[in-house]
Symmetry: C2
Subunit: 99 residues, 2 copies
DNA sequence: AGGGCACTTGCGTCTTTGCGCAAATAGTGA
DNA sequence: TCACTATTTGCGCAAAGACGCAAGTGCCCT
């Protein structure tokens, strides 16, 4: 039980670190900003942020692997949305600390 | 003025990303946890976390470069503390999202 | 000055990350 | 099936990060 608590503590820390890592890139933070207003397609995001589509797809894969975003397919278009709106609060505080 | 706002927006995003990067390592999150209770010396942290002193010093340098911690010298001992307790809230939410 | 403790810095190495480009997959409609 | 669009995946390379070990700096004490 003690071990149990310690293990999940370590696990939570590792996963928290992984989420922080996913948020540690300006482009990905930009994606989070965009998704605050609602879901967006890969090509929309790629255009807004000004990078190539494959690059955007990779960034979105990183965010999804961290559980930050989720995707929905509509025809040939894939829409991404925030899976955890709480990351907006994280982002807000990060900016506050940064300022 | 519009450019001004845009530039500082980009700057804030970049700095927020830098802070997230500093938090993207399990050992550094562990340091943040320890510092929640008050200041600690480098050797204390190194012992608690179980890494070599130079390694801990480097991690602390990363956290300080991001403005997350600050240091105070007392004799030959250097004590680190949280410069922005708000990161504790960030860490709390990250764990919440992770869980 | 000299020895010893606390910490920082430099260096070599191995792993990870971001990006561009090409190729593959998925879905739509003629 | 074929062409077309949207997205993902694979690959190679350059840049950044983490760690161990050795060397350097700063401080205290005798």
């Amino acid at each position: 039980m003690l071990m149990q608590a310690t293990l999940s503590n370590d696990l939570l820390r590792d996963r928290a670190a992984a989420i922080a890592r996913a948020l540690s890139d300006a482009k990905r933070l930009c994606v989070v900003e965009r998704l605050a207003d609602g879901e967006r397609s890969v090509s929309d995001l790629s255009r807004d942020i000004g990078c190539q589509v494959p690059n955007m797809s990779q960034h979105l894969a990183v965010l999804r692997a961290a559980g930050i975003v989720a995707s929905r397919r509509d025809g040939s278009t894939v829409f991404y949305r925030l899976a955890h709106p709480q990351v907006l609060e994280v982002y807000r505080i990060l900016r506050q600390v940064a300022g």
